[in-house]
Amino acid sequence: MSTARRKSVALTLVASLAGLFVALPLVSVAIRVPWGQSFDLLGSPLIRKALFVSVVSSVIATVCVLVFGVPLAYWLSRNDSVAARVVRVLSVSPIVLPPVVGGIAMLAAFGRRGVAGQWLNDWFGLSLPFTRTAVVMAQVFVAMPFLVLSVESAFRQAGTSLDDAARTLGASPLRIFLRVSLPSVLPAVGAGAVLSWARAFGEFGASITFAGSMSGRTQTLPMAVYELATVDYSQALVVSLLMIVVSVVILVGMRDRWLTGGPR
């Protein structure tokens, strides 16, 4: 065997091991799921409630991410000041932050004695932690960076030449944003929204810290899985499989429709 050939065999072996290492656990879930009764298990009250909380909160979180994240991405893309750089690093950092730290940070800001929370409590009698609002807030916190990254780079790529043309035609900054800049980055907005939704849907650490895991109120699907893992393992398997399927469907959809730019 030649050296080159031996090298490629070694590479293939390592690559297969890596692939297997990731694929095996995912496939194992499907193997171990009690297929016969899985439909009944999905219908259990605990899962139904958690699914409801998860779907509603992640959809609301995604809407919030879009409403606030797209303007933020636009501002960042048109700004190279030191302030913009600081804002960029901070607003993207939840991607690499341990989620539980995000939860602690949310408590520090919006907890009863939090930096902003104490005012909300004193002035409006609002207490955010351990509410459904808190679930959504934690999800927005961890999911927003995915949208901001994707949309900011799209705005940068689109450049300012069309904006400039619109300015010479007398358009206001808001009109330029809505009618010229935004339409040209819609695919990236869609991709960012789907990624953000997936992140929000799977959110666990920040939410359980800031919102707790109260069934029917703040317990989301991942929290339910965590709780079930020790009590009813087969039910945890069923829900896990459901979430794996959702993730894979999203990834496949993204690959074909957005990540590669789609068929031309």
């Binding site: 030449s161 069309l162 400039d164 043309a165 619109a166 300015r167 010479t168 035609l169 007398g170 358009a171 206001s172 009109r175 009618r179 010229v180 339409p183 040209s184």
Partner: protein, 211 residues
């Protein structure tokens, strides 16, 4: 109202001193090699970049004068530009491209569309009205861009290489079209080209840009 430019424009290392005077109803032709700063000058006139020193003014309105602390934003200059790289909004129809400036100016939707339709017909692009701007040929795009610049009835018209994107066959036709547009334009106009023959046909007054 005449457009008066006496300014130094800098962009990075590049610096350009310009002294121009264009009366209303007059067209000034600007020639100069590639890199002589033609497009930079257009941008400064449109207000997309500020001048470094000196001033740009139209009649009694000072558009840009660092010494006096004046700078009028591009959206308030009523200075229409036909860009060298055309810059039609790709996701809009040609009609919406031409109506865009009017709508920005507060003209009602129906009226803006009527006027845009009229303008497109004038430049011989009436069959493109419902077409998306992204699928046009170079010559078609240039017609629409000309219509878009004229629709606002701007005070100043800047044409940056208005014949650059057309093939040789349709060049004379578009040149006539631009010529007619300049003929009937009431404000100050500047045409930029690297081709002296084109400029010669379009205008009598030629300024050679040297940096």
């Amino acid at each position: 109202m005449s457009l008066v430019v006496d300014a130094t424009i800098a962009r990075g290392e590049f610096s350009l001193s310009v002294n121009l005077h264009v009366d209303a109803g007059e067209t000034l032709g600007l020639v100069g090699r590639n890199g002589a700063g033609k497009s930079t000058l257009i941008q400064a006139l449109a207000g997309l970049i500020p001048v470094k020193s000196g001033s740009i003014s139209l009649g009694d309105d000072v558009w840009d004068s660092p010494a006096r602390g004046c700078f009028v934003q591009p959206e308030d200059r009523h200075c229409a530009v036909m860009f060298q790289d055309i810059r039609l909004f790709p996701h809009m129809t040609c009609l919406d491209n031409v109506a865009f400036g009017l709508r920005s100016d507060g003209v009602r939707r129906e009226e803006a569309r009527d006027r845009a339709r009229e303008q497109l017909t004038k430049v011989g692009a009436d069959e493109l009205i419902e077409r998306r701007a992204s699928g046009l040929s170079g010559g078609q795009a240039q017609r629409v861009a000309l219509a878009r610049a004229l629709a606002l009835e701007p005070r100043v018209l800047l044409l940056d290489e208005p014949l650059s994107a057309v093939d040789a066959a349709s060049r004379p036709m578009l040149r006539d079209l631009v010529g007619e547009a300049l003929e009937s334009f009431k404000g100050a106009a500047i045409v930029v080209s690297h081709d002296e023959a084109d400029i010669g046909v379009l205008t009598g007054v030629i300024h050679n840009l040297v940096c």
